[in-house]
């Protein structure tokens, strides 16, 4: 059966009812457009968040602890012995021979590694006391493993080395305490050390829990607060490919024996909410596309109903049933294809429009533009799903209408 004949008939049907056709196309266009917008918005914000996370956090953190408590000598000696609540004999904290470990890691790591001494401390300023995480770093190595240097709002990372007992604090914390670069605060360690420190810089990472609860100093200062000279209790790794963190962390842990946590593992709870969110978004987008195809269903139903006589004529002339049915599928495909094209434009326009909108975040106090992720995948997937929905929606009314026996219609007309 000549396909262009079927297309001609379909085209004639579609173009002779412009208004209905436009409504159908508009339905498809809106479904596709909103889907693309939603996908761009959702993935945009997600990727933006992940970027922030990946930028701010070490990709892999090697900590001076082990995943399971080490077995006691007695247990090693006598299998039947079970000991609990035993003080660890090797309880001296810190990573042993950190320089050796780092050198060994650098030899194969696709990225870099920097040591740090992490502890909890209290900042006391003007009577206000706030618990913080103090991270002692080496500024020269730090630039290789974190973006801290680029996140500075006041002062510079290098200023840490220019003053005694210098610290850099998060912007939110600085606001809370009411301090600026140049002020002094009291830092109190867990072992009771109390040291007056001068604030030489303020940073903003964008992650609230970091900006509000983390401060940086030189290693020596942190070691002073911890009360253990020369301690390195954390190695932070930055990788060329952040997505390989999980695999690398496993390798590192196997090599050095210390607990190595990838950023994915550290944020597993967050990432799992992403997968829930993805599921919800996909469901909503699928529903939108499906709903938009109902307009097509409606139109094809109407056309097949109006064209009962034409269907009977074509069948009586000797056109096969499937060929006649295909006419209406082609009609839906025409409506769908034009609708999808319009939807792509609409989707792009909406994404563009949204990207111009800025949102004030009361938690971070920052005004940021909506992050939109532009991906051809969104357009292709929305288009494919939509065309399937449209032709599927046309199939049922078309099948019903073309099944009719021509004699019934011809008799009815005479």
């Amino acid at each position: 059966m000549a396909t262009n004949l079927l297309f001609d008939i379909a085209w004639t049907h579609v173009t002779s009812r412009v208004r209905q056709t436009l409504v159908g196309m508009a339905g498809v266009a809106m479904g596709v457009g909103f889907t693309i917008m939603m996908a761009g918005l959702m993935q945009g914000s997600q990727i933006d968040f992940l970027h922030q996370l990946v930028d701010t956090m070490p990709h892999v953190t090697v900590q001076d602890e082990r995943r399971t408590a080490p077995t006691q000598p007695a247990e090693q000696e006598y299998g039947a012995v079970q000991l609990t609540d035993v003080a660890n004999l090797n309880s001296r904290p810190g990573i042993k021979y950190p320089e050796t470990v780092m050198a060994s890691l650098r030899s194969w790591l696709p990225g870099d590694v920097a040591p740090s001494a992490r502890t909890t401390a209290i900042i006391d300023h003007g009577g206000g006391r706030i618990g913080v995480t103090l991270v002692g770093i080496d500024p020269r190595l730090e630039v290789k493993v974190s973006k801290l240097a680029t996140q500075m709002r006041q002062g510079q990372l290098g200023d840490l080395a220019r003053a005694p007992n210098a610290i850099i604090i998060g912007e939110a914390l600085a606001e809370k305490l009411g301090v600026k670069a140049g002020n002094t605060v009291l830092v109190i360690g867990g072992q009771g050390a109390e040291v007056t420190a001068s604030v030489v810089g303020v940073f903003r990472s964008g992650l609230k829990r970091v900006d509000e609860g983390q401060i940086y100093s030189l290693m020596s200062f942190a070691q002073l607060i911890i009360g253990q000279d020369g301690i390195v209790n954390e190695l932070r790794l930055r990788l060329n490919d952040p997505l390989s963190a999980q695999r690398i962390a496993t390798q590192v842990e196997a090599q050095v024996g210390y607990k190595s946590v990838s950023w994915q593992e550290a944020n597993a709870d967050l990432l799992s909410t992403f997968s829930v969110r993805d599921f919800i978004v996909l469901t909503v987008m699928g529903a939108m596309l499906l709903t938009s195809s109902f307009a097509t269903y409606n139109i094809i139903s109407t056309i097949t109903h109006e064209k009962r006589q034409d269907i009977a004529i074509m069948k009586s002339l000797g056109m096969r049933e499937y060929a006649v049915r295909r006419i209406f599928i082609i009609e839906a495909a025409i409506i769908g294809a034009v609708g999808i094209l319009a939807g792509w434009l609409l989707g792009y326009a909406l994404c563009y429009g949204w990207s111009k909108i800025t949102i004030f975040n009361p938690l971070t106090g920052a005004t940021v533009p909506l992050q939109i992720y532009y991906s051809p995948t969104h357009y292709i997937v929305a288009g494919c799903v939509s065309i399937i929905c449209c032709t599927g929606a046309a199939f049922f009314p078309a099948r019903k209408a073309t099944r009719v026996h021509p004699v019934e219609i011809i008799r009815g007309a005479s």
């Binding site: 000549a2 004949l5 002779s16 009977a312 000797g318 096969r320 004699v407």
Partner: protein, 241 residues
């Protein structure tokens, strides 16, 4: 056997349902090549049903229709459609043209569906057919721009387009005025004279009288067969009573 264009053997067609009804009741009929056969009968006699069976538009419950020596009872619906497309041309009481298409496009439809000719060849044949039926100037008009007689002539041109052996017409003049009736009938007569088989269902005794042969159907059975020219006016009055 090539003499016989169409033959039916013991055709039976029933309507099943709340009230079962036999529309066509064991009709056997042979139509020669080039013959102009008129089927007459009162309303509800089953003459149209018989015509649909002969034209393979409908399938019999019993019996056989043999078209050009080919039995058709075992054919699938698609194969029957193919036979309709190439061997039978249909003309209905109402023109049944596709309203959005021009006269020429309507004539081209069966040829394009068959897909055996090139575009140029089809177009030439379509125009030739329309010209021969006096519609040369109306080729690009849509059905609603044509008169009833013109539409019916377009429908005849469409029926002829694939050069079918058999033309099947169901009350082709039923909705036309006298002049158009005369014209359409003349065309059908010419088609028969040119060697094709024409089977017409009609109410009009005057037209039936001009056929080569007339078969009168009553209650789904052949009540009378006669040469058209022999039909007397009294008999005609009787038939129409």
């Amino acid at each position: 056997m090539t003499e016989i264009a169409l033959q039916s053997v013991g055709l039976v067609r029933r309507i099943e349902g709340g009230v079962s009804h036999t529309l066509v009741d064991g009709i056997g009929l042979s139509v020669k090549r080039g013959e102009f056969l008129a089927i007459t009968g009162p309303s509800g006699s089953g003459k149209s049903s018989l015509l649909y069976l002969l034209g393979l538009l409908d399938a019999p419950d019993e019996g056989e229709v043999i078209i050009c020596g080919q039995p058709t009872s075992k054919l699938s619906e698609s194969e029957r459609a193919d036979v309709r497309l190439t061997r039978c041309g249909f003309v209905f009481q109402f023109h049944f043209l596709l309203p959005e298409f021009t006269a020429l496009d309507n004539v081209l439809l069966p040829m394009r569906a068959a897909g055996k000719m090139g575009d140029k060849e089809m177009r030439e044949r379509g125009l030739e057919l329309l010209t021969s039926l006096g519609l040369k100037d109306h080729a690009d008009k849509r059905p609603n721009q044509l008169s009833g007689g013109q539409r019916q002539r377009v429908a005849i041109a469409r029926a002829l387009s694939n050069r079918p052996e058999i033309i099947v017409a169901d009350e082709p003049t039923g909705a036309l005025d006298t002049a158009s009736t005369e014209q359409v009938f003349g065309i059908l007569r010419d088609i028969a004279d040119s060697g094709r088989t024409v089977i017409v269902v009609t109410h009009d005794p005057a037209l039936a009288a001009r056929a080569d042969r007339r078969v009168h159907i009553v209650d789904g059975k052949i009540a009378e067969t006669s040469a058209g020219h022999a039909l007397t006016s009294e008999a005609t009055a009787l038939i129409n009573a």
